[in-house]
């Protein structure tokens, strides 16, 4: 099985929401969940990514997350009468799950269901300067490369008898053997990439075109309203 983040082919069959909506929801979840302690806001914030995953037919992830989250939330709300060390530890663990969970899941949804081109199209529509867009897309182009290079170097080093547990010397030495070749090959690939991108006109001052079809639909409206509702609730319970 291969996990692909920001893959280049989109899944046409399933319902997809606009990348801008995803970013908007992610921001609202991040802002509201971290600074508040009200259980229904936390539950609503968790509901959004869970339902999004459910729509994408990733039911196992949605189910398991909602189970863990519900248990954690129930513990946090009802068993908060901490009297000993164990319950304080429980309160801390559930607190972290409750606050980190929704944002983390939403972030995972964002990168696992958006293609690079869609992301670039969305960023261009949001008038983000190209000083951010170009490095950003290069970066995502590069993550799989690093993984590939790293595993090749691992194999090459194993052939020479350099691997965990076998080699004499410290971990630092081992990391030197593994990381330095990785950096060197990455720099080389980066230079080649930069040449090839320039020959394809990335450096031209003209506005680039994009074949990705992004736009808002009814489902975006629904989730937009839900996210705004969370923001309103947050303002109310903050007493602003």
């Amino acid at each position: 099985m291969e996990k692909v983040h920001l893959q280049s082919k989109s899944n046409q069959n399933s319902i997809n929401i606009d990348p801008r909506t995803k970013i908007f929801i992610l921001l609202i979840i991040n802002i509201s969940v971290f600074t508040i302690n009200v259980w229904y806001i936390l539950a609503l914030a968790a509901l959004i990514p869970v339902s999004l995953f459910a729509i994408r037919k990733n039911k196992s992830l949605a189910m398991s997350f909602s189970l863990v989250y519900t248990v954690s939330l129930v513990f946090y709300v009802f068993f908060i009468e901490a009297t000993n060390v164990i319950s304080i530890m429980t309160a801390m663990v559930t607190g972290i799950v409750n606050r980190m969970g929704p944002g983390f899941l939403m972030g995972y949804y964002l990168i696992s269901t958006t293609t690079v081109s869609e992301f670039i199209a969305a960023m261009e529509r949001m008038r983000i300067p190209k000083q951010i867009i170009i490095p950003f897309s290069v970066m995502f182009r590069f993550f799989p490369t690093i993984k590939e290079e790293s595993s090749s170097i691992k194999d090459a080093m194993r052939m020479r008898g350099i691997s965990f547990g076998k080699t004499k010397g410290s971990i630092i030495t081992l990391m030197e053997y593994r990381l330095i070749p990785l950096f060197i090959s990455c720099v080389k690939i980066g230079e080649e990439l930069s040449c090839s991108a320039l020959t394809r006109g990335l450096g031209s001052p003209q506005k680039r075109t994009n074949i990705c079809n992004i736009g808002f639909s009814r489902i975006d409206l629904l989730y937009g309203i839900l996210a705004t509702f969370i923001l309103v609730l947050w303002f109310i319970s903050k007493g602003v």
Partner: protein
């Protein structure tokens, strides 16, 4: 000094090195899930990431590249579900580091060591949420453990927490030295530094 504009080539370089930095950072950051090592994160991460950053600096000769790198790491942190704080911290400390490098015209060794120390302090953006959550913990502990105990624990937390900026800075300095050593040991020979 003539002010040079950022070319597309520079932007691609920024992307490549940000990817390397982030992968290394994320892999090492997994150590943070082991509770005791958590306190060491601000010290250890900058040391490891010093090598790619120093290599990156050899390619930097214009203002703005380090700032963009800081902001990009901040954006990645936001996208992977951290708070919005790393974005602000990444931008601010990236800018500060950029200014320090600029004073040395991106070639001064001393300033690049200090600059990387400053750049490493963006890590604090990840720790800030724990300050915010402190209130919640304080309340829980106050209800159950009594004032005396709570105050002791929080004082301890405050004592440790204040060391984080210095730890990050120190980690950056050590990392920069380490990176420069690696640079002269390997990369100069290979002809890419």
């Amino acid at each position: 000094m003539k002010k040079k504009k950022l070319q597309t080539k520079d932007l691609i370089t920024v992307g490549v090195f940000t990817a390397i930095y982030f992968v290394l950072f994320f892999a090492m950051g997994m150590l943070g899930y082991i509770p005791i090592l958590f306190a060491l994160i601000p010290l250890v991460l900058p040391i490891i990431c010093g090598v790619p950053f120093m290599l990156f600096l050899t390619k930097v000769d214009k203002f703005g590249m380090v700032t963009i790198m800081g902001s990009l790491i901040g954006i990645l942190m936001v996208l992977t579900g951290h708070t919005y704080m790393p974005l602000i911290f990444g931008f601010v400390f990236g800018l500060l580091a950029d200014l320090i490098f600029m004073i040395g015209k991106y070639r001064s060794k001393k300033l690049s060591i200090i600059g990387y120390g400053v750049f490493s302090m963006w890590l604090l953006g990840m720790l800030v949420p724990f300050w915010i959550m402190k209130d919640a913990f304080e309340k829980i502990m106050l209800d159950s453990m009594g004032i005396e105990y709570t105050r002791t624990v929080l004082e301890l937390f405050d004592k440790v927490a204040w060391s984080f900026p210095f730890l990050a800075f120190l980690g950056g300095i050590i990392g920069a030295f380490f990176g420069l050593k690696m640079l002269s040991k390997h990369f100069m020979k290979a002809g890419i530094a």
